[in-house]
Structures are given as structure tokens and as C-alpha cells.
Amino acid sequence: MASRAIKPKRDMQAPTWQALEERAPSVLREEGPLVARYLAVASLMLITLGGAALLFKAGDKPYLIPPGLGFFFLAVGITGLLYHSFNEKDFQFRRLYGGLGVLLFIAAVFLRLVPLTEAKKVGDAFLPYGALAMLLSLGFLLTFIKNEGELHMRTLVLNAVGLAGLANALAGLIGGGMLAPSLSEAFLMPSGVVHLILGLLFAIGYVGMEGIASPRGFWAGRTIGIIGGTMFLGALGRSMLPWVGAQLNWSTQAPSFFLPSGLVLMYFGFEYFLVYLGVCSDNKLVVLTRRELSAFFFSPIAYIVLVGMALAGWLNFWIFVLDVFASDGQGPRPLPEPIFFQFMVSFLAVIPLIFLVPIITMRMISEEKRSGTVEVLLTAPVNEWQVVLSKFLAGLRVFVMCWFVWGIYFIALRIEGDAPFDYRPIITFMIALGCMGAGFVAMGLFFSSVTQHQILAAVLTFVMMMALTLLYMLNRFATGDLQWLNQVITYVSYLDLWITSARGTITPRLLVLHLSVAAFWLFLSIKILEARKWS
């Protein structure tokens, strides 16, 4: 056949016809703000009740509503107000909420900079109410920006949000990274950490509203990455100074920076950098991971799982507190350190794990197979390993995030217990949990890839998790002749690692084992996806 070049327009063989105007999009009817307004009124009532309860408690007057319930009312009321402000397009309400946001922000800055407490130290009054005020101001300002019609007002507030984020992040960076270690530790824990978190949230809000398409938004994303990178590398460098000094035999000993400032700054630098990647990067692996994460949060799964973990943590905390007060009715009994061990090593802490992994991983590849999107995915120029790795990273991220929810209970423990406890086991436990989680999520991903029925994948993963957990019980039989079983169980069941890391020790060989297992399951998953090409 003679090759034909691209040719000019030719007559269609069908009779010519006029393109009809678009008929398909449905008529949109804007939902009126009536529901939201009723909700706002109810929320105001709740806020008044809750606020009054707290004020009565603070003023040492007799009260009807206990302060716990007061807090709850306050929280629900504020959520209702945020919902209303999200949906309300009316000019007056909009400006009202914007004004509220600005007011809260100014109050937060006031609390931060003005020495109000008896100690006359700048920033003492910031926690917790100043931080809360700033967080709420972000909520109201973002909804204001979303609904605001006038362009210059919108741009003004949006830029203010961006600058506030930058200021917070820099405060955390400079205060935490550039001062002497003792000063930086005092700054970082806890107000510096709060500044870093707030800075990140403000920055995400700015980039989200501005969009990546505009150069300013893109540069904001880049700035987040630069700050993150600086934080991470700077903290790493400073942490390594004592070791370098020892190697080079310096005269003065460089001060130890790693714990806690170095670690905290490195973690936050890492988080900032991840946000930058998620927002600005065009790398296929990052794009796929970001889509997987957003799929988690656009379906009810992530929320159900987070709420479930919160409830499980509540139960665990409750039982822990009961246990502490239980012994002889004479008040709380003294607990040996590590307190974290007492908290974490219990049945109620392991059971959520057994359910968490199947729920996270069951839909990962099965859903794609069932709905046919795997065909469209694999006919795009992506590799199978990128697909599998992206799902694994997203699953691992959600897994770790679910355990962060239990951090609320540690904070509660710290506040209620009124005495500091050793937090270093938390660090070792999180590292161990990360490695274990990698192994479990990879296993769940494999079972998800072999079937197109989600429930089958979930059941298989669940059975494997139960087996791994219950295997620990076999320890009872490891006596006498079967002494070697002890060693085997240490490796096969993860509970051993759970217990030792909660005590504060790191066993690298077990961590490597879990990471290798993760690599194994991931390899199998990639091969399963490639198997369709084996003819």
C-alpha cells in the first residue's frame, strides 16, 4: 500500500449536519444556605453552652455542665460554624467569618508575642489557646477565601495566609535549628513543634487555594521544599557534629543536638519535603502515590479507619487509667518506667493492628482489576513496579498516620499525669512500627493483587495477621527439647519486636527482617502484575 501523508480536509461521506448545542449537562440547582444557617444557629447555642461551662469552671463557680462536656460542645459548635462558613455565599456572613478569622489570628499573635503570664516570658501564653486560635483562624480564613467574590480582598487574605505560613515555618526553623541545643530544645518542645505544624498547614492552605498552575503557587510549593530540605540537612549536619568532632579530635566537644531537637527537625524537614513533592513533582511514582492517597481520603475508608483507631485508643487509654488507679483505691499507683511500655503492650493495642492492615490494603489492586482501570493504567507509559510501589507507599503512609492518632492519648497522659515521662521509647517504637507496617502492608498488597474480589483479599490478609499474632502463643511450648522454637518465634512473630521496641531498644536485625519481607511481598506483587505478559 502506498504510504499516504496526512491529507487536507475531505468531505465526509455522511450527510453534513450541524453540531447541536450541548444537551447533556444537567441543570444545576444551587442548594440554598438554609440548612447551613440553621446549623450555624444550633452551633452558636452549643458554643455558648460550652464556653459558659468552661468559664464557670475557670472562675471556680459551681457549674451544671461538666467541663469535659463543655469542651465537646465547644468543638461540635465550632465545627458547625466552619461548615456554615464553607457553604455560605452571602456577603455579610462571608465578611463576618473573614473578620472572625482575622480576629482569631490577631489574638493568637497577641498571645504569642506578649508576655502575659506571671513569669513574664514571651510566648508562655501561646499554648494551648493561642495555637488553637491560630488553627481555627486558618479554617475560617480559608473558607472566606473560597467564597469571596471580590478579587483584591481575596488576594490580600490569601497572601496573608501564605506569609503567616512562612513566618511560622521560619520561626520553627530558626528557633529550633540555629540556637544552642539547650535553648532550641526549650523552644522546640512544644511551641516550636506547634509553629512548624501550623506553618505547614498554612502553607498547604495557600498552595491549595492558589493552585499550582499559577507561578506564585508553584513557587510557594518550591519554598516549602527548600525550607524542608534546609531543615533536614541542617539538623542532620548539626546532629553529626559531635561524632565528626570525635573523629577529628577537636579540642572542644560539640554539644549534642540529636535528641530531641535534631530528630524533630529532621522529621519535620522530611514532612515539608514530602508536601513539596506531592504538590510540585511530576515524577510518575509521586503522581501515582498522590493519586492513591487522595483515593483513600475521597472514600469513607480512611475516615472509618481513623475514627476506629481513635476509639480503640480511647478504650486502651481508659483501661490503662483504670489499671493505674485500680490497685488499692488509694490513688494512682506508681508505675515503673518505661510508662510507654505499660501503655502499648496490651491486647487492646495489637487487635487494632490485625484489623487495620486488611482494611487498608484490601481494595488496592483488586478494585482496579474489577473495574478495569488496571488496563488503562498499564497501557500508559508506566512500569509495573511504579504502580505497586506507589500503592505500597500510600498504604504505608495511611498505616503510620492511623497510629499517630494514638498520640492524642499520650498528650492527654502527659497533661493529666502532670509529670514528664520518657518519650524515647516512642521513637524506637515508631521506627519498629514503620518497619513492621511495611511488611504487613506489602503482604496485604500481594493478597490484593492475586484476586479481583476485595473480600477475599481482606480475609486472606486477616488470616495471615492472626496467624502471625497467635504464633507468639506457641512460646509456651518452647521448653526443654523445643528450646530452639523460642528463637524461631522471635523472628517469625512480630510481637517480640513490638515488646522490645516499646521498652526502648532497637534490634536492627529484626527491622531488616521486616523490611526484607516487605521487599519480598512487593516483588511477588510486581510479578503477579507482570504475569499477564507471560502468555
Binding site: M1, S3, R4, A5, I6, K7, P8, K9, M12, Q13, A14, W17, A19, L20, E22, R23, A24, P25, A213, D282, K284, V287, L288, R291, S294, A295, F298, S299, S371, G372, T373, E375, V376, L378, T379, A380, P381, V382, N383, R532, K533, W534, S535
Partner: protein
């Protein structure tokens, strides 16, 4: 741009396609026609390097689909039959995601997405979740996704299945427009669509190619229709005796008149000769013209020729036998 040589695919013992060979040149719009189960989707899956072939070679844009799969995938846009979309994403988010996956650079991405939204007429639903779209809109979003990276070749599997008549016309018009600057291979079992927009047609039946022609060439063997009022046998004999006539068949008999289908040697135009003959004999000439052989005729001819059941029985019974299907559908072997 697409070159397929002796491609075969067996799913275990089931033969999906058998030694299929065809070519699609740059800028052509080729229709891949066939009944359901003929092997169209399988061929397309092999061309997009989703499935491997059991034997044979397929090259797309000069790259082998098995060994240079990434290069192939960078040059094609694929629209599968069931347009699978992620239901929880918005249309513009989905197109943005697919553009990033296919490597559209950031500077052009927004412009390209806007262009595809306009061209495929999905701008009105850009903020809707894909799970809430109707079938027509899903198809258009899938089409926008296929063309988002401006690939040289578009491979579309039944692009108009399930659409209402208005949407079918619009989609065909869009494909026709795209055909001016892209190479398109589309599969369908609706003949009128192929006639409307394709330049060439490949008919596949039971895994084998039955016909591969450009549409203009399909219409070769035209048949002359002659309606005469007169004694049927005599007219039949007279027409058969005419020089250059190869076959005369009585199409239908009315009251007093009959319609004859006359096939001529080398498609010679014998209208004037027939008219003169009829008038000479004193009969009345009611109708004289061509009956165009449509694509439908060609299609059914191909289906009749290649009956896989017949082939299988004949192969088993040995050479020199023919398999005949009787009225109840049972096959009998005649030696």
C-alpha cells in the same frame, strides 16, 4: 504506522486470533469490523502491549509491542470498550493525572487539558466526579484522556457503544476531525459508522481476517437491476444470451413484471444494450439501474465464507469433504 504480521493469540486452547496480518498507514482512519467475539478487542490489547501474542510480530510507530513496550505506549492513546475511570476523581483532576502519567510537560499541561476539555465537549462537567457522569460523558472523558498527550496513533475499542443517536453522531464527527491529523484504528460492529468515517475497513471473523479493502473498492461488483414486464422465461433467456452477461438471477416476481439481477463480465456497463434488447423484443422496461454493493453485503459475504465450525469439521473429516448445515442447524458431512 501499525504493522501486524501473522499475529496469533491463544487463550489456552481457545484461539482468539489466527495469523492476522494488516497494516495501517500514517493518517489513515481504519475501521476494524467484525461480529462479537471475532478477536477485535484481543488484537487491540496486543497492539497496546497489554497482552502478549502467542506468535507473530506487531509493530506500532516502528516499535515492537513486546520488546519496546514503553515506546509504543508513549505513542498511542487507547480507549477501551468499557471506559474505566476512577469514580472518586473529578474530570479535570483525572485528566491532569493522566497527563502527568503520560509525560505531558508542566508548561503545556494546562493548555492541553483546556484544549481536550473543549474538543471533547466536556468543559461543562469538568468539576463533576467521574462516577456521577452518564455514559456519553464517560465516553467523552475517555476520549479526552486518549488524546491528552497528543499521540500519533489512537486506538479505540467500540467508541460509540451505548451512546444515544445524537452522541453517536457527535462522537463520529469528532473522530473524523481527529482523523485528519492522527492515525486512527477503531473497532466496531456497526456498519454505518464505518461507512461514515473510515477510509479503509478490515473485516475480521472468528479470528481471521476476511477482507481488507478501502471503502471505495468495496463497491466494485455492482449488479444491474432490470425490471421488465413480459414473459419471465423468455426475458431470462434473452438476457442470458446477451454478450457480456455472466449471470442473471430472478430477484422477485410481481404481477406481470419481474426484477432481474444481471451480473456483467468485468463490470461492463451494459445498460444501453439491455435497454435496446428489451425494446427490440417489444417488452416494457420498468426499471434499469445499478444496485450498489454495500458494506453490509461484503460483511455478510465474509461471514458466510468463513464459518469456523465448517472449517473445523472439514479439517477433521479429511480433504475433499464439505460440511453442510441443514435446516435445523445440524452439520452433515458430504463427500
Amino acid at each position: 504506522m501499525i504493522s501486524v504480521q501473522n499475529l496469533s493469540k491463544y487463550f489456552g486452547p481457545v484461539m482468539a486470533i489466527d495469523r492476522v496480518s494488516f497494516e495501517v498507514d500514517r493518517g489513515e482512519v481504519v475501521g476494524f469490523l467484525g461480529p462479537n467475539g471475532a478477536g477485535k478487542t484481543t488484537t487491540m490489547r496486543i497492539l497496546t502491549s497489554y497482552l502478549p501474542a502467542t506468535s507473530g510480530v506487531a509493530k506500532v510507530a516502528g516499535f515492537d509491542v513486546m520488546t519496546e513496550s514503553m515506546d509504543v505506549r508513549r505513542n498511542i492513546g487507547y480507549l477501551p470498550e468499557s471506559v474505566p475511570l476512577y469514580p472518586e476523581m473529578r474530570v479535570e483532576e483525572y485528566l491532569d493525572f493522566r497527563a502527568k502519567l503520560k509525560g505531558v510537560p508542566r508548561k503545556e499541561r494546562t493548555k492541553r487539558i483546556e484544549y481536550c476539555l473543549d474538543r471533547c465537549r466536556v468543559r461543562e462537567v469538568r468539576r463533576r466526579l467521574t462516577g456521577t457522569l452518564s455514559k456519553g460523558y464517560r465516553q467523552r472523558v475517555g476520549l479526552a484522556d486518549a488524546m491528552i498527550a497528543d499521540p500519533a496513533i489512537l486506538i479505540m475499542d467500540e467508541p460509540t457503544v451505548g451512546l444515544d443517536p445524537i452522541q453517536i453522531r457527535e462522537t463520529l464527527a469528532l473522530i473524523s476531525e481527529l482523523g485528519e491529523s492522527h492515525t486512527i484504528l477503531l473497532s466496531t460492529h456497526i456498519l454505518s459508522e464505518v461507512e461514515a468515517i473510515c477510509e479503509r475497513v478490515i473485516i475480521i471473523n472468528a479470528g481471521r481476517i476476511g477482507m481488507m479493502k478501502s471503502l471505495v473498492d468495496v463497491d466494485t461488483k455492482s449488479v444491474l437491476i432490470v425490471e421488465v414486464r413480459g414473459p419471465v422465461d423468455q426475458v431470462l433467456a434473452a438476457l442470458k444470451a446477451l454478450e457480456g452477461v455472466t449471470q442473471v438471477v430472478v430477484d422477485s416476481k410481481g404481477s406481470g413484471s419481474a426484477v432481474f439481477a444481471v451480473t456483467t463480465k468485468d463490470n461492463r456497463d451494459l445498460r444501453e444494450a439491455i435497454a435496446a434488447l428489451v425494446l427490440e423484443k417489444g417488452w416494457s422496461l420498468l426499471q434499469l439501474g445499478y444496485r450498489r454493493r454495500t458494506l453490509e453485503d461484503a460483511f455478510f459475504e465474509v461471514l458466510r465464507e468463513h464459518n469456523p465450525l465448517k472449517d473445523a469439521i472439514e479439517a477433521r473429516s479429511g480433504s475433499g469433504t464439505t460440511a453442510i448445515q441443514d435446516k435445523s442447524g445440524r452439520m452433515a458431512v458430504k463427500r
